[in-house]
C-alpha cells in the first residue's frame, strides 16, 4: 500500500510539473472567460421583442452549461489521456522504469499507484474547473444546476475511464500513440452517442443501438450523458424541452444513469486495469 501511495504522489507531482498542465490551465481559463461573457449576454438579449421567461432562460442556460461542461470534459480527457501515456510507456522508453521496477515492488502496485495519481489529478481538475463554471453561471444567469455534486462525480468518473484506457494502451503501444488512440476513441464514442440519439428520434432501432453499444464498450459517453442530466433544470425541461429531447439534441439528456450502468462502469475500469496489469507484468523492459 505504501508503494501505491508513494507512486500516486510521485505521479501527481509529475503531472503538476508537466507542460500539459499549463496548456490545460490556459484552455480552461479561456473557456471559462468565454462562457462568462456568453451567459451575461444571454440574460440581456431579447428574442422577438421580449426577454426570455425564467423557464426559457433556465432551459437555455442548461443547454449552454452542458455545452461548456462538454468543453471542460474534453479538456480533461485530452489532458489526462496525454498524461497517462507518458507516465508508463514514456518511463519504459526512457529507462526511468528500470531503476524503479528493480525495487522490491510488484508491477501491479506501480500501475495502481500511477492510476490513482492520475485519477486524483483528473478529478481535481474537473471539480475545480466545474465549480468555477457553476459559480460563473450562477453569477451571470442566476442558474444553479440541480445535482452539482453528482454531475462533477460523473465527469470525474468519465475522466477516470478515459485515463484507464490510456494506461491500458500505454502498456502495449508508444506513449504518444496511446494518447491519440484514447482521445480518438473518446470522440468516436461521443459521435456514436449522437448518432444513437438521432436513431431514437427517428425511431430507428438499428441506428439507436449504435449509441447503446458504444456506451457499453467505452463508458465515457454514458457517464457524460448522466452528468448532463444532473446539470439541466428538470422542470424547465419538462415544460419546454420536449421537442429538443425527442429530437436527439446532443447537449440535453433524457434520463439519469441506472445503477446497473454505474456498476458496469466500475466493472469496466476494474477489467481494464486488470488487463493493463497483465500486459505490464508480461512486458520485458
Amino acid at each position: 500500500m505504501t508503494v501505491v501511495l508513494t507512486l500516486a504522489a510521485l505521479t501527481l507531482r509529475e503531472a503538476v510539473r508537466r507542460r500539459v498542465l499549463r496548456a490545460l490551465a490556459v484552455l480552461t481559463v479561456a473557456l471559462l472567460a468565454l462562457s462568462a461573457w456568453g451567459f451575461s449576454v444571454l440574460v440581456r438579449v431579447e428574442f422577438d421583442g421580449s426577454a426570455l421567461t425564467s423557464g426559457e432562460a433556465a432551459l437555455v442556460a442548461s443547454q449552454i452549461l452542458n455545452l461548456v461542461m462538454f468543453g471542460l470534459s474534453l479538456i480533461a480527457a485530452l489532458g489526462t489521456a496525454f498524461l497517462a501515456g507518458p507516465t508508463l510507456a514514456g518511463e519504459i522508453e526512457s529507462g526511468i522504469a528500470l531503476a524503479v521496477l528493480a525495487r522490491p515492488i510488484r508491477r501491479s502496485a506501480v500501475l495502481l499507484g500511477k492510476w490513482l495519481g492520475l485519477v486524483v489529478f483528473g478529478s481535481g481538475f474537473v471539480v475545480t474547473a466545474g465549480l468555477a463554471q457553476f459559480v460563473i453561471v450562477r453569477a451571470t444567469a442566476g442558474y444553479w444546476p440541480p445535482q452539482p455534486a453528482a454531475a462533477l462525480a460523473l465527469l470525474a468518473a468519465q475522466t477516470a475511464v478515459l485515463l484507464t484506457l490510456g494506461l491500458l494502451l500505454s502498456t502495449v503501444i508508444s506513449p504518444m500513440a496511446s494518447g491519440i488512440v484514447s482521445v480518438g476513441l473518446f470522440g468516436a464514442t461521443w459521435i456514436a452517442g449522437v448518432v444513437g440519439g438521432v436513431g431514437q428520434a427517428l425511431h430507428n432501432e438499428g441506428v439507436a443501438r449504435v449509441g447503446t453499444v458504444s456506451r457499453m464498450l467505452l463508458p465515457t459517453d454514458g457517464l457524460w450523458r448522466g452528468a448532463m442530466h444532473a446539470l439541466q433544470d428538470p422542470i424547465a425541461l419538462a415544460q419546454l424541452g420536449g421537442p429538443a429531447l425527442e429530437g436527439g439534441f446532443p447537449f440535453l439528456s433524457k434520463a439519469p444513469l441506472t445503477p446497473a450502468y454505474l456498476a458496469w462502469t466500475g466493472l469496466w475500469v476494474v477489467l481494464a486495469l486488470g488487463l493493463a496489469a497483465l500486459a505490464f507484468h508480461r512486458r520485458d523492459l
Partner: protein, 332 residues
C-alpha cells in the same frame, strides 16, 4: 602473440560450463541462477546461462557487445522474463519481488525522474525499498559519489556522468547486500572511473556482493574475485582470476640450441619457436625453482642465453583468446 593464443586454445578446462549440470543452490548465495534462456523473436539472447555470486564476492561479467550480459542482468532482477531457467537472489526465488529488498541496481540505461532533485530520487528509492534511511545517511551516499553539493538540484540539469554517479548512489541507498552494476563507468571521466573503483573496493571490504558488467577489463581485473565470460548468450569461460590467468609463459632468446636443449625446454612446458625466439608456456602455480633450473640446465647444455623474460597473460589477452577461439571453432 600467435603461439600464445594457439597454445591457449588447446587447454580450456573452464569452457563448456553451460552444458555442465547446474550447481546446487548454495544456502545463501547472493545470486544463483541456472539454465537461463531468452529468445527475442528469432534471435537467442541468452542460451543456458548458469552462474553464482557468493556473499561478499565481486564477480565480473565480460563479453563482446550482444553477448547477452545486460539481458542476463535484467533476468536476474525480474525486468525480463526468461523463457526457461531459475533465479534465486539472496536465498529467495526471484519471482518474489521481496527477493530484491536488499539488491541495488545501476542500469546500463540510467535515467532518473528529471523533475526531482538528487535528494528526492534517493528518498524515493529508499521508500520503495522499504528501508528507513535517515537524511544524514542519504547525504553521505551523495557525498560518496561526489554529488554532495548538488543534492538540491534537479536531475534534469545533470550531465550524463553526474546522472550515472546519482545512479550509483541509488544502487547503494537501501543498504544492499548485493549490488548489480551494468557498465557503471560508461559515462564517466577518468576521475569518475577511479572513484568507482574505490567504491567497488569499499563494497568488497564491507562484504557486499557485486555483479559487475564492464567493458573496461582493467577495472574488472583489479577488483573482481571471479569472472564469467559470456559469448553469444553462453558462458564461454569462468573462474577465479588465478584460474583464468594462472598460466605463465617464459620468453627466451637463445643461440646454439641442440636437440637435447630443445627437449629440455619442451620438458618445462609447451614450446613454440620462431627463429631464435622460444616461448615456453609454464604450468600454473608460483614456484621459485622452475626458471633458474631451466636456465642452469640450458647453460650446462652449451646454449648461449641472450634473454629470459617471464610474462603473465593479461585478462584482456585471455578474453580475446577465448572469444577468438570460439569464432575459429565455428568456422571450422
Amino acid at each position: 602473440m600467435g603461439p600464445v593464443i594457439a597454445g591457449a586454445r588447446q587447454d580450456r578446462p573452464l569452457l563448456g560450463e553451460a552444458e555442465a549440470p547446474a550447481p546446487e543452490p548454495a544456502p545463501a548465495a547472493a545470486v544463483w541462477c541456472s539454465g537461463l534462456r531468452k529468445r527475442y523473436r528469432r534471435r537467442t539472447a541468452v542460451d543456458g546461462v548458469s552462474l553464482t555470486v557468493g556473499r561478499g564476492e565481486v564477480v565480473g561479467l565480460l563479453g563482446p557487445n550482444g553477448a547477452g550480459k545486460t539481458t542476463v542482468i535484467k533476468i536476474l532482477l525480474g525486468l525480463v522474463r526468461p523463457d526457461a531457467g531459475e533465479v534465486m537472489l539472496l536465498g529467495r526465488p526471484a519471482r518474489d519481488p521481496y527477493a530484491r529488498a536488499r539488491v541495488g541496481y545501476l542500469p546500463e540505461l540510467f535515467r532518473y525522474q528529471p523533475w526531482l532533485t538528487a535528494a528526492d530520487v534517493l528518498a524515493l528509492h529508499a521508500r520503495l525499498a522499504g528501508v528507513a534511511v535517515p537524511d544524514r545517511e542519504r547525504r553521505e551516499f551523495l557525498a560518496a559519489v561526489g554529488l554532495a553539493d548538488r543534492a538540491g538540484d534537479r536531475v534534469g540539469g545533470f550531465s550524463k556522468g553526474m546522472q550515472q554517479r546519482l545512479g550509483l548512489a541509488v544502487a547503494l541507498v537501501a543498504r544492499p547486500e548485493l549490488v548489480v552494476l551494468d557498465e557503471p563507468t560508461s559515462a564517466m571521466d577518468p576521475i569518475g572511473r577511479a572513484d568507482v573503483r574505490d567504491l567497488l573496493l569499499s563494497l568488497k571490504a564491507r562484504r557486499v556482493a557485486v555483479l559487475l558488467n564492464s567493458h573496461l577489463i582493467g577495472e574488472v581485473e583489479r577488483v573482481c574475485d571471479r569472472v564469467f565470460i559470456l559469448d553469444k548468450g553462453r558462458v564461454a569461460a569462468s573462474g577465479t582470476l588465478a584460474e583464468l590467468l594462472g598460466r605463465r609463459e617464459l620468453r627466451l632468446r637463445l643461440d646454439e640450441v641442440s636437440a637435447e636443449a630443445e627437449a629440455r625446454l619442451a620438458e618445462a612446458g609447451r614450446l613454440t619457436r620462431s627463429g631464435d625466439a622460444f616461448t615456453v608456456a609454464l604450468p600454473a602455480g608460483e614456484d621459485t625453482t622452475t626458471v633458474p633450473d631451466l636456465v642452469a640446465d640450458l647453460v650446462g647444455l652449451g646454449v648461449r642465453v641472450h634473454a629470459v623474460e617471464p610474462g603473465r597473460i593479461s585478462l584482456e589477452e585471455r578474453l580475446l583468446d577465448i572469444l577468438r577461439g570460439d569464432s575459429d571453432g565455428e568456422s571450422r
